[in-house]
């Protein structure tokens, strides 16, 4: 489960999940919901693979979201599904998406960057909670 939360000039991404794999997938979906008005408009047409290394979970989350943002910015691709495997040394993800189609994808915000401000990846009684502020 994910949601956008308020931050004066920017936006917050928040997700809760029973495990880290789901948490990272939910945060990715949350980022897409900041980029497009209707994330359901993104079709999982093509598969892409991402591999990242890093042992600190909070930095790994930032790197994961940065990678997705970079692919959107450079290759103009949006993503619909995220199969993420987080390990002690990094993550491997198989993600599916499609190139931006202005006829079907109403873009919502220009996310300039994923910030480190009040960055959180913490265990909770039910699983995990993550929060990230993105610069708009």
């Amino acid at each position: 489960m994910y949601e956008l939360f308020e931050h004066t000039a920017d936006l917050g991404l928040r997700a809760i999940a029973p495990d880290l794999n789901t948490l990272f997938a939910e945060m990715a979906a949350c980022l897409m919901s900041a980029l497009v008005e209707d994330p359901a408009s993104i079709q999982p047409r093509k598969e892409y693979t991402i591999q990242l290394s890093g042992s600190e979970k909070d930095y790994l989350l930032v790197d994961w979201l940065k990678e997705l943002l970079l692919r959107f910015e450079e290759d103009h691709v949006l993503f619909a599904t995220f199969d993420v495997q987080v390990s002690d040394t990094g993550l491997t993800a198989r993600i599916r998406g499609e190139p931006v189609d202005p006829q079907r994808h109403a873009l919502a915000h220009e996310v300039k960057a994923i910030t480190y401000h009040e960055l959180k990846v913490v265990p909770t009684a039910e699983g995990w909670l993550a929060e990230v502020i993105v610069d708009i």
Binding site: L4, F5, E6, H7, T8, A9, D10, L11, G12, L35, E37, Y59, D63, K66, L70, F72, E73, E74, H76, V100, A106, L107, A108, H109, E110, K112, A113, I114, T115, Y116, H117, E118, L119, E131, I133, D135, I136
Partner: protein
């Protein structure tokens, strides 16, 4: 979430200046100074921006005070509206967070010799043409394409590179901060990712709070200075607010990643990871400075190309060349940047790194960096407000040199979060409301107008009153919007 109100100390110590004493938090090296009046202070207390002023006071080598302008609001790491100067000789640091992701985000104002009566009958057509010609919004690329080598030349030469290709005139550079070129840049140090993000975006507005506005001068406060700036009542101007686009965001992002271990490496404590910094005189610091300067030069190029497109639209709509329409650049000023400047501290001249994060340089009369045409009166300062009320032209003053490292405010400052503004706009038609107020607004995204509606901002007149009264800059003229295009 730290949306909680600030409950720490704010002691009135001078004209519209409130202090957070350095005893407030362990680790503060200097006091915090926030410029505000009682009305604005009430709003400023509502979030954690003052706490961020206190956090910045912990940066190694910080001089005099961690300073905030009256348009201060909660940012990430640094507050927006923050100023800090660090001395490299005292272990001073450079902080990418103190510049922001949008390196050299800034504003330029273009004069015309048109008056309200000339423009009003064709306003709708003009705004429509500007909207369809000038790329705005998420993911929009521009008509100007630069390959990677050319993109690096944009960074290495600044707007001169595009002017030599007919996109502007050399005198535009005389009225651009630093002549549109900050020396000491190294475009070869800028990552391929940053170059790729920037190569299609030079000459595009972007999204968020960036805009292009057609405005009319509705009040003159200083006839003499206005005359020197070439402004008169009812004259029409064009204001452009944008920065270094994806290229700058990526440069900041790259630097923050490479600064992750600097606090540990150089032995200082930071209360927020977004305040990541490195000594000016360190491999990490020197590299970021060279990259940041390159991105800043790209930002000047972006605004140059945006201006040139606006000139071409005006020429097409009014059937006269832009030169004939008197579309001269009044001034271009950065409000997200760090620069090495000479300032007098405790009676001694020092070269310090002035970080301006949502704050504008405001040098006074006689300063050698003020363009010759304005040197007798001071540097023009351009303060965009919101799209329903007003924007301002101020002039730099000596008070700023004495109190704020030659700096003043940069805008109105947000009063509502984006989510709150969007919720507030639900069921309303912001463009219709603006039209009733005499403003034609066009935006690429539905969210654009809702999140940027006038109510989402403080009243810029209040902010300007503070900087005028505190002698950080002086009122010259007020403009109201006629039409706006946004992302």
């Amino acid at each position: 979430m730290s949306k909680a109100a600030y409950t720490g100390p704010l002691e009135l110590i001078g004209c519209d200046c409130y202090r957070i004493p350095k005893t407030y938090k362990p680790g503060m090296r200097v006091d915090g100074h926030i410029y505000a009046n009682e009305k604005l202070l009430e709003a400023i207390r509502q979030d954690q921006a003052p706490e961020q002023v206190a956090n910045v006071a912990m940066l190694p080598g910080i001089q005099v005070a961690s300073i905030a302008m009256p348009d201060i609001h909660w940012g990430y790491g640094f507050c927006i509206g923050g100023v800090c100067a660090t001395d490299p000789d005292e272990g001073g640091v450079i902080s990418p967070g103190g510049v922001g992701y949008d390196i050299n985000c800034g504003v330029r104002l273009v004069r015309t010799n048109l008056f309200l009566n000339d423009v009003q009958p064709r306003l709708k057509e003009l705004i429509k043409q500007l909207f369809y010609t000038i790329p705005s919004g998420v993911g929009r690329t521009g008509k100007y394409k630069f390959d990677p080598a050319e993109t690096r030349r944009l960074m290495g030469e600044g707007p001169k590179f595009v002017i030599e290709r007919g996109l502007g005139v050399l005198r535009d550079l005389d009225h651009t901060e630093a002549h549109g070129f900050i020396e000491g840049c190294d475009p070869q140090l800028v990552s391929d990712h940053a170059v790729k993000r920037g190569s299609e975006q030079c000459g595009t507005l972007g999204s968020g709070n960036h805009f292009l506005e057609v405005q009319v001068v509705d009040s003159i406060y200083d006839e003499g200075v206005a005359k020197v700036f070439g402004l008169e009542l009812n004259q029409v101007c064009v204001m452009i607010h944008s920065g270094s686009r994806g290229l700058g965001y990526q440069v900041c992002d790259d630097a923050l990643a490479s600064f992750r271990n600097c606090a540990q490496k150089y032995g200082f404590h930071l209360p927020d990871r977004q305040l990541a910094c490195a000594p000016v005189d360190s491999p990490e610091g020197r590299k970021y400075i060279a990259q940041m300067r390159a991105a800043a030069n790209f930002g000047f190029c972006n605004r140059q190309l945006l201006m040139q497109q606006a000139r071409e639209v005006f020429a097409a709509v009014f059937g006269r060349s832009w030169e004939d329409l008197g579309m001269e650049l009044l001034y271009d000023v950065a409000h997200n940047i760090a620069k090495l400047e000479e300032h007098t501290i405790n009676g001694k001249k020092k070269k310090v790194w002035v970080h301006r994060k949502g704050a504008t340089r405001a040098f006074p009369a006689g300063h050698p960096e003020v363009p010759e045409a304005y040197r007798a009166v001071g540097q023009p300062v351009i303060i965009p407000g919101d799209m329903g009320r007003a924007s301002w032209i101020l002039v730099g003053s000596h008070g700023a040199m004495a109190k704020t490292f030659g700096t003043t405010c940069h805008g109105a400052g947000r009063a509502m979060s984006r989510t709150a503004a969007k919720a507030d706009a639900a069921g309303r038609k912001i463009d219709r409301e603006l039209e009733h107020r005499g403003v034609i607004a066009m935006a690429s995204s539905r969210f654009g107008l809702a999140e940027e509606q006038p109510k989402a901002y403080k009243n810029v007149d209040d902010v300007v009153e503070v900087v005028h009264d505190a002698d950080l800059s002086r009122r010259v003229a007020r403009m109201r919007p006629l039409g706006v295009i946004k992302g």
